[in-house]
């Protein structure tokens, strides 16, 4: 059956952002009207952003489409438009069939109502008819495993029970087209497993599903097709495995690279502007996971805009708790105390293997002038990466498998002297008299 389920043509959505408040008050309107004659010429055009920019694609009946992209790519906006929650600014969408939207789990749940009452309420909100809810009531309760708590107000539920119940109701929606937005991101491991299982089942039943997620494993497991969005545009439209792999390989999906395309908005001043920060392996690949024994490079790309500047790039490393692990200054003799010509620079700092501790490291990038101290920019959370220590690598862990504290974990040479017992040579000099 290759019938069309969804056709999206040239979809675009414009949002207003900036200092203008999202809502006004009558008082403001009145004051502004009264003061208007005195403030001619002060109009600021509102800042806008295209959350979606000319998006086009088609979904066939029975397909499971995974939509991926980093935060702000437009994935949720796309789902909102398909769910008719918000209107497009331009473009057209044709949807063939009833749509069920799962943009959030537990929409409309009221804490004062009991589990039973909330099942009816939530079901009605999601679009189920009363007869349908009654028919599926027992199934829903069994899926959520909350038989004993049906008549307790939901405010007494634990978070786990709440999520299970909310998902149970939503999971029993039977529309022709299902739109799902990262609902799997909440809850504990067993809940996520349950959700994934149900999603798989829904896909196998032949329903059309559009699934937005950050979890590549979920996307490759559940979806046949993938759509990669970035900054509101379609980057790639193809097989889910391939799209997911492209996303992982590029610096779009990772925290290990950050770019500032718009120089006027990039961190810095008239002397220096930061353009990008990246984490690279020895081979040059951008990565957000490194082995503890591999050297890792942190690279800073910046534009020097005025000639003759003496600049010191520096990198600040913080652990998950925000404690500073160490700070690196570029004191390499090449540019030390030398004025730099205007141009684009890439400074790379090599951290040797077996120095960093396991865990997440957040890197802040800065460029400053010393004596007197001038900080041209300090981008605190520029990039982040993870250091992992598996048993195959040679590291300071040795055979110890437990938790090792410490801000750093250097692998250092140890010296041990040895002599068997009874041999006078082996006795320490202070003890020889006894």
């Amino acid at each position: 059956m290759t019938e069309l389920a969804i056709r999206v043509q040239g979809l675009s959505k414009l949002y207003r952002i900036g200092e203008r408040q999202r809502y006004k008050s009558l008082r403001e309107i009145i004051m502004r009207t009264l003061a208007a004659p005195f403030r001619a010429g002060e109009r600021h055009p509102p800042e806008t952003i295209w959350a979606l920019d000319d998006v086009s694609f088609e979904v066939m009946r029975g397909e499971v489409l995974g939509v991926i992209g980093r935060n702000g790519a437009g994935k949720s906006t796309l789902l909102k438009i398909l769910s008719r929650i918000t209107e497009p600014t331009r473009g057209r969408v044709e949807v063939y069939g009833r749509v069920g939207s799962l943009l959030e789990v537990g929409t409309g749940f009221h804490p004062e109502l009991t589990g039973r009452e909330n099942i009816y309420l939530n079901g009605a909100i999601l679009g189920m008819k009363r007869a349908e809810i009654e028919r599926k009531f027992d199934e829903i309760v069994a899926f959520a495993e909350v038989e004993r708590f049906l008549d307790t107000p939901v405010k007494h539920f634990s978070t786990g029970m709440y999520l299970r119940l909310a998902f149970a109701v939503a999971a029993h929606l039977e529309p022709e087209i299902l739109l799902v937005d990262e609902v799997l991101a909440v809850g504990d491991a067993s809940f996520q497993k349950k959700c994934l299982g149900k999603m798989e089942q829904v896909g196998q039943e032949g329903r059309t599903v559009v699934f937005v997620s950050h979890s590549m494993s979920a996307v490759t497991r559940l979806c046949g097709r993938g759509l990669l969005l970035d900054a509101g545009r379609v980057m790639l439209d193809g097989l889910a495995d391939q799209v997911a792999a492209t996303y992982m390989r590029s610096d779009l999906g990772t925290t290990a690279a950050r770019r500032w395309d718009d120089a006027s908005k990039a961190p810095g001043d008239e002397s220096v502007r930061l353009r990008a920060v990246r984490i690279r392996t020895r081979e040059g690949t951008v990565t957000d996971v490194v082995d503890i024994d591999d050297p890792v490079a942190v690279e800073m790309e910046y534009d020097v805009l005025r000639p003759g500047e003496v600049l010191v790039p520096n990198l600040h490393f913080f652990n998950e708790e925000g404690t500073c692990v160490f700070v690196l200054h570029d004191s390499d003799p090449v540019w030390r105390r030398r004025g730099r010509p205007v141009g684009r620079y890439i400074s790379k700092a090599w951290i040797p293997g077996n120095l960093l501790a396991e865990g997440t490291l957040v890197v802040g990038a800065a460029v400053s002038k010393h004596n007197p101290l001038v900080i041209h920019f300090f981008e605190r959370d520029a990039v982040a990466f993870q250091v992992v220590d598996n048993s195959a690598t040679v590291s300071a862990r040795g055979d110890y498998a437990g938790f090792m504290p410490g801000l750093v974990r250097p692998l250092v040479p140890w010296e041990t002297d040895f002599a068997p017992i009874g041999d006078p040579r082996g006795v320490a000099p202070e003890e020889r008299g006894r």
């Binding site: 006004k24 929650i85 918000t86 497009p88 044709e94 949807v95 939207s101 943009l103 679009g127």
Partner: protein
């Protein structure tokens, strides 16, 4: 899945012209409307310590206070009816209206969670807020019957007009509610204006006093007596008293004027609401 029957097609596009009312869609979502009303009523009755009793006590206590200060001390006329009964009847239907206004004005903003996550015709929200007041009205009616039995006042044939008047009250409350709830999304301080508005409206409506004390003033200004009916609640309250208590007024022209204004409010409210509805999810 059978591909034989054609599946419903929905086209999503930016709305250019004025949005249609789409009453058919509203009817399709009537079950949701029912559930929202049921939710509001259930929650309201669970949360207040007095529960359903509050629906009775509120108009009753207000009527008691009015009787003392307006009926006795100020000596306001009451169409020949005992003042407590006079004021209670008016207050019954007035409370429904004022509750409807307060509940609906913040209803859309208060449902922000729903609006940003689920699709349904947004008109359902303020309508549900107003409808939930009908339950309170129904709960307080037996007390009215008890009072009428106590004073020995029985309704005449005019009581048949009561459902129509209740409907008119519903229309007026919904109309204003639609305006307020839609305005409140864009201008958040509207909800602070509402209590003030309701208070003023109470004094402008013949709840505390009968409408016929205004007639001579209007005549002196050369205006018709039914002009007061421009306030839709004037027709409702006067009419309610006439229908239920067989008051010796003939509020026909007043009711007619109120019906016109009430309908105008409803239609204009629905028009404005539908016009700004498309930006709700973005602004709320």
């Amino acid at each position: 899945m059978n591909s034989a029957e054609p599946l419903p097609l929905v086209v999503i596009e930016p709305t250019r012209r004025a949005a249609a009312l789409r009453l058919g869609e509203l009817w399709a979502y009537r079950e949701l409307l029912y559930f929202l009303v049921w939710r509001d009523v259930k929650v309201r009755y669970k949360q207040t310590a007095l529960g359903a009793a509050w629906a009775i006590l509120q108009p009753l206590m207000t009527a008691a206070v009015f009787t003392i200060f307006f009926g006795r001390l100020a000596g306001i006329a009451s169409d020949g009816l005992p003042y407590p009964l006079f004021s209670y009847t008016g207050l019954l239907v007035w409370t429904f209206f004022s509750q409807g206004l307060s509940q609906s004005s913040n209803s859309v903003v208060g449902s922000a969670q729903l609006i940003t996550k689920v699709y349904f015709p947004r008109l359902v929200i303020p309508i549900a807020a107003v409808l939930s007041g009908l339950v309170d009205l129904a709960v307080a009616l037996p007390v009215l019957a008890a009072m009428m039995w106590y004073y020995g006042i029985w309704p005449g044939v005019a009581v048949l007009a009561m459902p129509f008047l209740a409907l008119l009250a519903l229309v007026a409350a919904t109309g204003v509610g639609l305006w307020l709830s839609a305005l409140n999304v864009e201008y958040r301080d509207v909800r602070y204006v509402v209590p003030f508005l309701v208070q003023l409206w109470l004094f402008v409506t013949p709840v505390i006093y009968p409408a016929n004390i205004l007639a001579p003033r209007l005549q002196r200004l050369g205006l018709p007596a039914w002009l007061w009916g421009v306030n839709p609640m004037a027709g409702v309250v006067e009419g309610f008293r006439w229908a239920v208590l067989d008051a010796p007024t003939s509020p026909g022209p007043l009711i007619a004027a109120s019906t016109v204004t009430g309908l105008a409010l409803l239609l204009s409210g629905a028009w404005y609401f539908r016009r700004v509805e498309r930006s709700f999810a973005d602004v709320v």
